[in-house]
Amino acid sequence: MAAVLFFIGGIGTIAGAIGVVTLRDPFLTVLSLVVHLLFLAVLFLLLRAEFLAAAQVVVYAGAVMVLYIFVVAYVGEEVTLGSDTRAPLGASLRLASTVFGALLLIELFIALLGTGLRGIDTKGSPYIPGFGTPGFIGNLLLTRFLLAFEIASFLLLIAAVGAVVLARRRGGIAEEAEEELVLAQRRRPLGTGTTAEAVSTLAFAAAHQRHDHGTVEAQPPPPVDGPGDPVDEEPSPTGGGW
């Protein structure tokens, strides 16, 4: 019975994985991964990790994948073609990837199965009742692995904050997609700038005179003919100091 379940679980897992790797439509890939996760949960159950199986289904398949679906919906169906890629040797990269992957797989097989890990041929330790139950996991989490627990929760907090920061819009409803972040035109505090700023001492001194340290929009630097830095000659187009 266990063998049958194992094979069902195993084949399902691998099928889902293959689906993720090969399907074109991103929505379908996400669904394929959900399938993969569910069958993986079956495997977990077979290994007596009940809590973990449940956590997997609820958290992973339930929450994370839903998040994925949302993003896929937002981003849209970008069907990327296989041929027009900027990477040189794009096609042969696929072949190379497959070869590397196969290489890795063979090595792992040899490592895991062929080297005679002690206990691989055994059935493992006897089953302790309560192994894998939530109580069992909770006990461990709050005693032996308390630090990891706390750090993990902290990590979740950071991730949440980070995600919000990454995805928020910046000032104004207007589309900022066209904003070109040209470094030379960013407003900087006086004295922390580029060589252009350092070389054109007249504007620097003038800004210092005005005690505003360049945070206010200053005049474009007057044409300096002394040290004659040719880079210096381009006036900033947006009128900002530097």
């Binding site: 849209g76 696929r94 330790s125």
Partner: protein
């Protein structure tokens, strides 16, 4: 079933994830494949935990799931941010990390 089978499945999942990361061009799918690799590792951990009768592997696996969730958050946030800037959603086009 002896543990070797589970480890074999774990290796296959891991490798399939690696191939997917190397092959796919949609960053979302790349992240998915990354998740898959983590899953492969999880399976191995739990298999060993069962073999040794120890709860350590399972705790490790829970932490891995947590970390995977965090990573997904950040990754998807980045994808959203990239999409917002109207940059192409293609790993091959996003080449700022170069020398």
């Amino acid at each position: 079933m002896n543990i070797g089978w589970y480890l074999a499945v774990s290796a296959i999942i891991f490798t399939l994830g690696a191939v997917g990361v190397m092959t796919r061009r949609n960053p979302l799918v790349v992240l998915l494949c990354l998740e898959m690799m983590l899953n492969g590792g999880n399976l191995a951990l739990i298999a060993f935990s069962r073999m040794l009768g120890n709860g350590d592997g399972q705790i490790f696996a829970i932490i891995v799931i947590t970390v995977a969730a965090c990573e997904v958050c950040i990754g998807l946030g980045m994808v959203v941010a990239i999409f917002r800037r109207s940059l192409p959603i293609d790993v091959d086009e996003l080449t700022e990390l170069q020398g």
